[in-house]
């Protein structure tokens, strides 16, 4: 509501510009170029800014879009409107093929890979006979509706900007959805997302295809705007420039793409027109000045101009109130479910010469609260990672509800109802608490990218957000629901992780040092929460913790690890008086330590 008004105003302004008397036709051409560049940059916002996958090769996808329509309209007489879906399809298929190879790459290899095929495809375009080699294809028919032919820049202007505005709307819808949250979590590493069922390779491929289709759309429009296509605008040089546009505008922001395109296109134009007057000659001075100006701009606004601008506007996003009354989709708990939730037999994990977990065996029964304690480096978190599929075992078996999971991926383990928190908080700091927690409910929704883009996911989405809000209330962070997760204290962030894990509707909850960073009163609140969760929802809990008050206070059974081996197990009374445990872990009797 609050978001829609600026959008409508912007759309109306853009629609009115060509009708303003005295607007030079040249300005319209510039606006067309801005729109075309903005479409490509918008794909990069999603791919690079949000998803964290840097691509220098987007111009090649414009090429797929442009050449598809160029060939089909000139050689085969297709209608331009018929080639629109085909252009998008060809760009999309090219993205699938390149993406399957490329998105597996990580670190420096990913951008290098995109440069490689960016250059390769440029030469392919310029060498193929049926694409007209270096000369390209000319005589492409204009877009037309009935007898109205979009021959001049002033008419295709509308087609371009309708495409830009529609794409912006669809992209924003996508980001504000179940799929969007999975995409936004990509940049922070894959472990947290996968622990809640996000198929990260699939999410990466999705943004890759999405960005390519937007570039293909830009290419299709370009071909009918210029009425010709040649390889030059689809080379690596252009690919670098598109990435530049996205970064200058603000790589994480949809409107940053439009703003960045405006800044770069206009700046280049001004420099090209006026610098020769000032300095004379045919020198390449404008390129140098252009470079300097962009560096200065990025110094002033390192995250891009759009967020810099937004921080200076008095507009504050209205907090969305979440309806918590919607019924959640709960896990069907089979009445005859086995009493043993988790069974670990001789689990072993070896890192090179170090045996981090050495033939550990234990089990967790339904409704139990079990603690895993031991000195730092004893292998406790590694055991959690083995159970949840973050690491694969070197030996032994781990089963959840009778299913063997010792080499299952995290997404399969969470499907069985095992949810976890992390010792080192893994939240997305620039997402709100609500959005972070909603990632926990990922598997309880089903809406995909397409339905999110067209807002067909609202009923599903409302249930997920309602569940997230309810869990946030449950752990006592209702006041922080709309804040960015990164602005919370570390102790609060750990509690947010518990809420996110509860959103899974788990049968077994694994908590890694939940009380670290909490003071005594907060620890007591946490103990009450853990009890309540177990009693009301029949959730069993396995926790790692150094706070003995919590461990002794709420756990029915304790397992003590040292150097990867079980050195003791039993009730709190048995463990706290065990000389081996006192020697290895407690240091001195707990009563004295509590003093």
């Amino acid at each position: 509501m609050n978001q829609k008004l600026p959008f409508i105003i912007f759309a109306l302004v853009m629609a009115a510009i060509p009708f303003i008397p005295g607007v030079p036709p040249f300005w319209i051409v510039l606006l067309n170029n801005i729109g075309l560049a903005a479409l490509v940059a918008m794909g990069l916002v999603l791919l690079t800014g949000v998803g964290g996958l840097t691509s220098f090769g987007q111009a090649a996808f414009c090429g797929f879009g442009a050449y598809t329509t160029a060939v089909l309209t000139t050689a085969y007489g297709f209608s331009p409107w018929l080639t629109l879906p085909l252009s998008l399809l060809v760009s999309g298929i090219a993205a699938v093929l390149l993406g399957i190879v490329t998105v597996r790459l990580s670190g420096h290899y990913l951008p290098l890979g995109t440069i490689a095929w960016g250059i390769g495809l440029f030469y392919l375009f310029s060498k193929l006979e049926f694409l007209g080699r270096n000369d390209g294809i000319s005589g492409i028919p204009p877009l037309s509706i009935g007898n109205f032919r979009m021959l001049d820049p002033g008419t295709i202007y509308f087609a371009i900007w309708i495409a830009v505005l529609t794409s912006a709307l669809l992209t924003m819808n996508l980001l504000d959805s179940r799929t969007g949250r999975a995409i936004r979590a990509l940049r922070r590493g894959h472990i947290a997302g996968e622990a809640f069922g996000v198929q990260t390779p699939r999410a990466k491929l999705l943004v890759f295809i999405y960005a390519a289709v937007l570039a293909g759309l830009s290419g299709w429009l370009y071909a009918h705007f210029q009425r010709a296509a040649n390889p030059t605008p689809f080379g690596a040089q252009a690919g670098i420039e598109y990435l530049f546009i996205a970064v200058v505008g603000g790589a994480g922001y949809v409107w940053g793409a439009v703003l960045g395109a405006g800044i770069v296109v206009i700046l280049k134009e001004i420099l090209q027109s006026y610098l020769p007057y000032i300095f004379g000659g045919q020198s390449q001075l404008e390129t140098i000045v252009f470079g300097i100006l962009l560096v200065v701009l990025l110094q002033l606004a390192p995250t891009g101009v759009w967020p810099w601008l937004m921080a200076r506007l008095p507009l504050k996003p209205a907090r969305k109130l979440t309806d918590t009354s919607l019924p959640p989709a709960t896990r069907v708990r089979a009445p005859a479910s086995p009493a043993t939730l988790l069974q670990i037999e001789k689990a072993r994990k070896q890192f090179g010469g170090v045996i981090a977990v050495n033939d550990v065996s234990f089990d967790v029964q339904a409704r139990e609260i079990v603690a895993l304690i031991g000195p730092n480096g004893a292998g406790k978190s590694t055991t959690f990672n083995l159970i949840t599929g973050v690491l694969t075992t070197t030996g032994g078996t781990i089963s959840v509800l009778g299913h063997k999971v010792d080499n299952a991926p995290p997404q399969e383990v969470v499907k069985l109802g095992v949810a976890r928190t992390f010792q080192h908080v893994k939240l997305v700091p620039d997402m709100t608490v609500l959005e972070n927690v909603a990632i926990g409910a990922h598997l309880r929704g089903s809406s995909g990218a397409i339905s999110s883009m067209f807002r067909l996911d609202r009923a599903d989405e409302a249930k997920l957000l309602a569940e997230a809000a309810r869990q946030i209330e449950r752990v006592g962070l209702g006041d922080q629901i709309g804040q960015l997760a990164g602005s919370l204290s570390l102790g609060q962030q750990r509690i947010v992780e518990i809420a996110r894990a509860l959103c899974v509707d788990p049968v077994l909850l694994l908590l890694d040092e939940p009380a670290a960073g909490l003071n005594d009163r907060e620890t007591h609140d946490l103990m009450n929460t853990i009890h309540a969760v177990r009693d009301r929802f029949d959730i069993a809990i396995l926790l790692i913790e150094h706070n003995m008050e919590l461990v002794m206070g709420i756990c029915e059974r304790i397992l003590v690890l040292n150097f990867g081996k079980t050195i003791a197990q039993g009730t709190p009374e048995q463990v706290r008086s065990d000389p081996v445990v006192i020697e290895a872990y407690l240091g001195e009797p707990v009563e004295e330590a509590e003093l």
Binding site: K316, F351, I373, G374, P375, N376, G377, A378, S381, T382, Q423, H424, V425, Q480, Q483, L484, S487, L488, S489, L490, G491, Q492, E513, A516, G517, L518, N519, D520, R521, E522, T523, H524, H546, M548, E549, Y585, L586, G587, E588, V590, A593, L595
Partner: protein, 236 residues
């Protein structure tokens, strides 16, 4: 003003949210001062403002008589304030040994073998891991390394943010003993801790924070005896 560190009415905002509403505190040379309070009260924000990582919107920070408000973090470090942030802050690709050496990066004197010995007596596991990359340590071991590195820096003023976080009980006892020891050797300490009891037993004076304000400050003996503190932070 003779205080080594004086924080005068600082106000800090994160976007639209005001995290600190005019925080006042001071630390005298040779003291251990602790800052306790609930999660989200603004303790970490206070430390981050002192060490220059955040700029206050109002108020000032004075160190040894000089105004250090808005000064860059590395300059503040060079003047003698060392900050150990909560959570991990170690160099994962360097060895344990190199991490410790880097702690002493700004020191002009030579690191004594006795200082290594102290670290290894405190955390024997670090001696076993001395040649390993710090990134291969467990979470708790990384915390040990971060604290040890700070001990090597021998600053005039040490800002410690939750040194006991994630440590097994036997180390929690030891870490507070070492904090007292390095204080006796001449380092002034401002300590943020969730383990309020241990913090109050260790420190000379304490400040209590609630929702971005200092609500109470006194000698730690008095705070330990206060009913209000017992109720709110000591689980009594």
């Amino acid at each position: 003003m003779t205080a080594m560190l004086a924080v005068n009415g600082i106000e800090v905002c994160y976007g639209a949210i005001t995290a600190l509403h005019g925080v006042e505190l001071h630390v005298e040379k040779g003291e251990i001062v602790t800052l306790i309070g609930a999660n989200g009260a603004g303790k970490t924000t206070t430390l981050r403002t002192i060490s220059g990582l955040l700029k206050p919107r109002a108020g000032s920070v004075q160190f040894s008589g000089a105004n250090i408000t808005g000064v860059k973090p590395h300059v503040i470090t060079a003047r003698g304030i060392s900050h150990v942030p909560e959570g991990r802050g170690i160099f994962a690709n360097l060895t344990v040994h190199d991490n410790l050496e880097l702690g002493a990066y700004l020191r002009k004197d030579k690191v004594q073998q006795s200082e290594y010995d102290r670290v290894f007596t405190l955390f024997p596991i670090l001696k076993d891991r001395i040649k390993q990359n710090a990134g291969t340590l467990s979470g708790g071991e990384q915390q040990m390394l971060a604290i040890s590195r700070a001990l090597m820096s021998k600053p005039q003023l040490l800002l410690l943010d939750e040194p006991s976080l994630g440590l097994a009980p036997q180390y929690v006892q030891k870490i507070f003993a070492v904090i007292k020891e390095i204080n006796a050797e001449g380092t002034t300490i401002l300590l943020v801790e969730q383990n309020a009891h241990m913090a109050l037993v260790t420190a000379h004076r304490g400040y209590v924070m609630e929702t971005g304000r200092i609500v109470l400050h006194d000698k730690t003996k008095a705070l330990l005896a206060s009913d209000r503190i017992k109720k709110a932070y000591l689980g009594g």
